[in-house]
């Protein structure tokens, strides 16, 4: 018997994984809410620890939002693959005739839709405590829109590599946070550039380029790591 007729079907595979994981995320809405609440708390607590100085807050605001976004994305990473690994679904995913990288891509897309996208949409709200002006908010949201998918894509590689490892959660943070650094630098840098009056074009272009590279490479790397984890 030769390969299954669905062997090259990228889109149905992507859709299967996306629909399943989004459904599951909404079945455990509590976890989603906790994650968003965590983000909101970090963003709101930070100004309380600083002197009441408008210029200072406007200067640190984008950086704080970015660091909080990094941590919120990291917080949801164990859910990306670990649950499926423990209940045996990941074995079935790896044995599916569909391309594994496409299935993993669908899971990554679901992770971004449930963790990254809400942060992008709510940026104007979360920027309030920092008194950012309109242009800074737009650039910050644009940066998050380009950057948070990179976090999900890179995070998937880390999540796959730490499957089955003891202390997987903390190991995952150690492994993946350094990789998040460039995204943080260019993301927060875009907002700084606007304040400095030089325009955010360069930073956003670099983030966009980074996103394209991550889309092209991360699903394959994560798929390879999943196969190694199951071996």
């Amino acid at each position: 018997m030769s390969a299954s007729p669905v062997a090259g079907a990228v889109w149905p595979a992507f859709r299967w994984a996306l629909a399943r994981d989004v459904t599951l995320a909404f079945r455990s809405r509590m976890e989603l809410a906790v994650q968003l609440l965590f983000y909101a708390l970090v963003v709101v607590l930070f100004p309380l620890s600083l002197p009441p100085d408008g210029a200072l807050l406007a200067a640190v605001g984008p950086g704080v939002l970015w660091v909080a976004a990094l941590l919120a994305s990291l917080l949801a990473l164990p859910r990306l693959l670990a649950a499926d690994y423990h209940d045996g679904t990941l074995e079935q995913i790896a044995l599916s005739p569909y391309p594994l990288a496409a299935l993993v891509s669908g899971k990554i897309a679901a992770h971004w839709l449930t963790t990254g996208l809400p942060l992008v949409v709510l940026t104007p709200l979360f920027a309030l405590p920092y008194g950012l002006d309109g242009e800074a908010i737009v650039v910050l949201a644009a940066g998050l829109a380009l950057g948070t998918p990179i976090l999900s894509l890179l995070g998937a590689i880390g999540a796959a590599l730490t499957l089955g490892a003891r202390g997987g959660g903390s190991l995952l943070a150690l492994l993946i946070l350094p990789l998040y650094a460039p995204v943080l630098i260019f993301g927060a840098g875009a907002a700084d550039a606007v304040r400095a009056g030089v325009g955010a074009g360069a930073h956003l272009s670099l983030l966009g380029a980074g996103l394209l590279v991550a889309i092209a490479a991360a699903p394959w790397a994560a798929a390879a790591a999943v196969r190694i984890a199951l071996d």
């Binding site: 299954s4 062997a7 299967w16 423990h86 045996g88 679904t89 079935q92 599916s96 005739p97 299935l103």
Partner: protein, 204 residues
Amino acid sequence: MLAAHDLAARRGFAQLFAGLAFRVDPGSALLVTGANGTGKTTLLRILAGLTAPTAGAVHWNGALVAPFDPSLRAAVAYAGHAPALNDNLTAGENLASLAALGGTPASDDQLRAALDTVALAAQRNLPARVLSQGQRRRIGLARLVLSSRPLWLLDEPVTALDAAGIGALTDLVRRHLDGGGLVVAATHVTLDLPAARVAELALG
């Protein structure tokens, strides 16, 4: 036809088995027996293409297959220790999801019929988290029915099943063999199958 030549596997530093050779023809079953820790699960995982043997080769229909080989992935229905059920999905949703993942989406009628064969029709809309271990196993059996794969790899399929469940499993396996399918099962319990169809492989 599934054939293994000179298979060897190790777990850590311990040699599980070596020089293993067997052949399973369409319409026949291989029951793998042996004490705990003799490599039954490892053997099934090698045959499923989830892991590579340390030596030897697996052939499917005459062609050498490496782990995750597309032709093997299109032929194997693997039922491992973990039943691959998500607690937050209902029995029906789990089954539909696994069938779609296998590349053979099931219609509503097919789902109902498959759940009926394992006497779970009434539990269709219950979340998997409230099902008993035996009922979870039964969903695994229903998945085999829907998969329409020629090669079934069953790891301890009778675990947690009651007498009726074992009867249903035996019926399914017998029907699968009648239809020209192949079965490799690691099991402690001898299933009531026609002796001419069954070979036994003792590990350890």
